[in-house]
Amino acid sequence: MIKHRKIFYMISGLLVAMSLGVFIVWGLNPAIDFTGGSLLEVEYSQVRPPMNIIKEKVDAQNLGNVLIQPIGEKGFLFRFRDITENEHQALIQTLGEVTQKRFDSIGPIIGKELTRKAWTSIVLVVAMIILFIAYAFRKVSKPVSSWKYGSVAIVALIHDVAIPVGVFCVLGYFYHIEVDILFVTALLTILGFSVHDTIVVFDRVRENLKKGTGKDFEDTVSQSVRQVRGRSIKTSLAILLVLVSLLVFGGETTKYFALTLMLGIVLGTYSSLFLASPLLVTWQKWQERK
């Protein structure tokens, strides 16, 4: 696979570029966690009234722009601005005989605060992981110095996070799927796992270099990749199995969380084998040529 590295570079480069493109053009669709606003899910005991009647009733409540979506067999999901408790009670009254299954109303201050917290954790996680990579590879120096391992691991990391973000930009644009705090959590978890896979490969390279396996650096890396690829793929399969079951059978709240993680796991394994390792070789060759 090291031989065909250019193809993988192209695929990955294209995907990341596309993700960046949709992120700039469409952006993510932030949930009320970040923007503030309300979400109400109700269920009718018998048959739910037709949508247009509900829409009329809700519009009379002056809640601004209300998004109404049928959910399940007897329910509706409403999204609108954040409201006071009185407005909430009035809305429930007007809907008739319903059970309230879920109601979130988040003030804009709380939303802003969560956004700030999310960014703080993202910056912290990235910083700590970079420090850790630098530490983990401090002893490897020949023929590629340790900071290069670190840089390559970071490239892989950006790749693994950028593509899920791109996917959710597309999902948000076409299917109105929102990203909430769990999405950010999933991304940060992907960061952890991405480095995890890359380290397993690099650890093998480190070991093989010490043992003097392979006729040159490229050969050492391809042998290392061959040695760990079974493990990497099997592990990812095991994790994917649990995540698929969470996606298919799990609760509504963790569905897209599971999907994000799945994307990250697949990408993390792919990038450790087909992107990070070949990049090491490319870098070393480029260095030699100089």
């Binding site: 605060e113 649990v242 079951s245």
Partner: protein
């Protein structure tokens, strides 16, 4: 059973989060503008006590009321798990009256504000009255009685020692002027002060029915709020939805674990069984820790646990692949096992540290949902580091009692030619 072992008992339930057992999470902002800087924390704990008393009316299992400072905002976070009538609870907490006594504003200020309000300015100022230091904070008790002559219901209130002094001062300074009584920001009566009142007692008369007066007295006694509060965020999950999410999450977990077990069995045969045993031990240790710590289980928390099973499998896979390699290199099973463990260790350790870093930071900065995930994932990884090196090793050694490497090779799923 000793106290520390209580968590092991099956009777001890898991601690379920609001999203799984249903309930509400409310964030209130306290308006501390009328309070001295150094008295804020005391006032906030007073507020917490009052809300706690009110909340206890609902008889909810384990209510949690916390004071939180975020930036310059003082907040009160109320969590009511397992509550049935969410709307009523929110309404009842919100209805808690905020009692205030106000004195008349000088005429020129009144004119000024009224004029400004005509131009849509200073709209949230009261043109007629000025707030005083006397609020529900100094209320000792309230009683319902009836006016001797009109038989109208009225509420007599008694102030604390401190409140009595303030009340005496206010009445002394405002003789022959009205003193307005405000409840939740609305004036209910504005009697004229005839003389200084020193006993710390006062009557509130207004146009209320006996029923309204009775409710008011109950609310005042259970706690007139010392500081006005405003609901800025609420999240509520109906008990039925919580149950559904819990059922689905558990089901997903079971299916996931079974799928992993089948996968391990197909790929590693006998050793797969070893891994399954190791996983079973891993899961029991983690679940026990969840009870003992105790970890509040949320849907995201279950996801974290399920994910950690994948990580635990990963450690086992790394070890097995290493052992296989050692066998391929011609080592016998007895020396291949310890060798495989030693070689796998650095990878397992280094690769898990990054996830542990993430889990720690998420725990530090996260909201309760994220915390649940971070904690279960973190605990899961730590335990997996431990069990993969104790349980798996023990089981592998036990499985190879006879030391038949050839059979072991087959059972490991290795081709004979190697």
């Amino acid at each position: 059973m000793p106290e520390s072992m209580k968590g092991l008992s099956p009777e001890v339930p898991f601690h379920l989060g609001l999203d799984l057992q249903g309930g509400i999470h409310l964030i209130y902002r306290a308006d501390v503008s009328g309070i001295q800087e150094n008295e804020i924390s005391e006032a906030m704990s007073g507020l917490r006590d009052v809300i706690e008393r009110r909340v206890n009316f609902f008889g909810v299992g384990e209510p949690s009321i916390q004071v939180e400072k975020s930036g310059n905002e003082n907040r009160l976070i109320v969590e009511l798990p397992g509550i049935k009538d969410i709307g009523q609870a929110v309404a009842l907490i919100g209805e808690t009256p905020y009692l205030e006594f106000k004195t008349q504003r000088p005429q020129e200020e009144t004119d000024e504000i009224l004029k400004a309000q005509e131009n849509n300015e200073r709209l949230n100022e009261d043109p007629y009255f000025i707030s005083t230091a006397l609020t529900g904070r100094y209320l000792k008790r309230a009683n319902l009685d009836f006016d001797q002559t009109t038989y109208q219901p009225q509420i007599s209130i008694e102030f604390t020692k401190e409140g009595s002094d303030i009340f005496a001062k206010i009445t002394k300074d405002n003789i022959d002027k009205p003193l307005a009584i405000y409840l939740d920001g609305a004036p209910i009566s504005a009697p004229n002060v005839r003389e200084e009142i020193t006993g710390g007692r006062a009557q509130i008369t207004g146009q209320f029915t006996a029923q309204e007066a009775k409710e008011l007295v109950r609310n005042l006694n259970s706690g007139a709020l010392p500081i006005p509060i405003e609901l800025i965020s609420q999240q509520s999950v109906g008990a039925s939805l919580g149950e559904e999410v819990l059922r689905k999450s558990i089901f997903a977990g079971i299916v996931g674990v079974l799928a992993v077990a089948v996968f391990l069995l197909l790929w590693y045969r006998l050793v797969g069984i070893v891994a399954i045993f190791a996983l079973a031990i891993y899961s029991s240790v983690v679940l026990m820790l969840f009870k003992m710590i105790p970890v509040t289980i949320t849907a995201a928390g279950i996801a974290g646990f399920i994910l950690s099973i994948g990580v635990a499998v990963d450690a086992n896979i790394l070890i097995f692949e290493r052992i296989k390699e050692e066998l391929r290199n011609g080592k016998n099973f007895k020396s291949a096992i310890p060798e495989g463990f030693v070689r796998a260790w650095t990878s397992i350790r280094d690769s898990n540290i990054s996830t542990l870093i993430t889990a720690t930071i998420l725990y530090w900065f996260g909201t309760s949902i994220v915390k649940g995930f971070a904690l279960t994932l973190g605990v899961g990884i730590l335990v997996s580091l431990f069990t993969s090196f104790t349980a798996t090793r023990t089981f592998l050694i036990v499985a190879d009692i006879k030391g038949e490497s050839k059979i072991m090779k087959f059972l490991l799923g290795m081709p004979k030619t190697l």
